[in-house]
Symmetry: C2
Subunit: 102 residues, 2 copies
C-alpha cells in the first residue's frame, strides 16, 4: 500500500476487498442496517471474532457506521455509509461475472 505505485487508490481498495469475508460482508450490508446477530445468521461460517474485526475496520475506513440504541436490551446496528453504499457497483460487477463464469 505504501511502496507499490501502479495506483495507490486502487491498491487501497484492492487491499480492502482483498481480505477474507469482506466481499460477503459488504454484500449482506447492502441489504440495509443489520445487527451483529443478523450478520452471524447471514454468514454463519464467519467467526464472531472476524465479524467484529472486519466491522471495526470498515468503520475506521468510513464505510460502515455503528449505532447503539440504548433500548431495553441494547441494540447495536451496522449500516453502510454513502462511501459504503457506493460499493454496490463493485459488488454487482462481481455478481455479474460470477453468474456468467463460475
Amino acid at each position: 500500500m505504501q511502496k507499490t505505485s501502479i495506483c495507490p487508490k486502487y491498491e487501497f481498495a484492492a487491499e480492502l476487498l482483498g481480505k477474507k469475508w469482506m466481499g460477503l460482508l459488504i454484500l449482506v450490508l447492502l441489504q440495509g442496517p443489520l445487527r451483529f446477530k443478523d450478520i452471524k445468521k447471514e454468514i454463519p461460517d464467519m467467526s464472531d471474532r472476524l465479524i467484529t474485526e472486519r466491522l471495526k475496520e470498515l468503520e475506521e475506513k468510513g464505510i460502515v457506521e455503528r449505532s447503539v440504541f440504548p433500548e431495553k436490551p441494547v441494540r447495536v446496528q451496522y449500516q453502510l455509509t454513502n462511501k459504503g453504499k457506493n460499493l454496490e457497483p463493485v459488488i454487482n460487477a462481481i455478481q455479474n461475472w460470477a453468474e456468467v463464469w463460475v
Copy 2:
C-alpha cells in the same frame, strides 16, 4: 464456500478476489500478456512465492493461461483467458470507487 449459501457463485468470486494481491495481479494482467519478471516489476512488494502461487491458482480456475516459448532462454508468459478478461468491469468498478472515495 461450501456451507454459506447466500449465493455460492458470488462467494466463489469473492473468495477469489478476497485473497491478497489478487486484485492487483489481475489489474496488471489486463495490460496484456506478461512474463514472470514483468509481474515482479509491476508489483515489487509481492514475493516470488506468492506470484507463483497466485498464478497457479488463477490457471487452475481458468482465468490465466500460461504459455512457454522454448526460445534461447525459455520465455514463460501469462495472459488472461476470456474468463479473466471479463473481470475488467469488476476491476473498473473498483477503480472508479477508489477514484471517488479513497
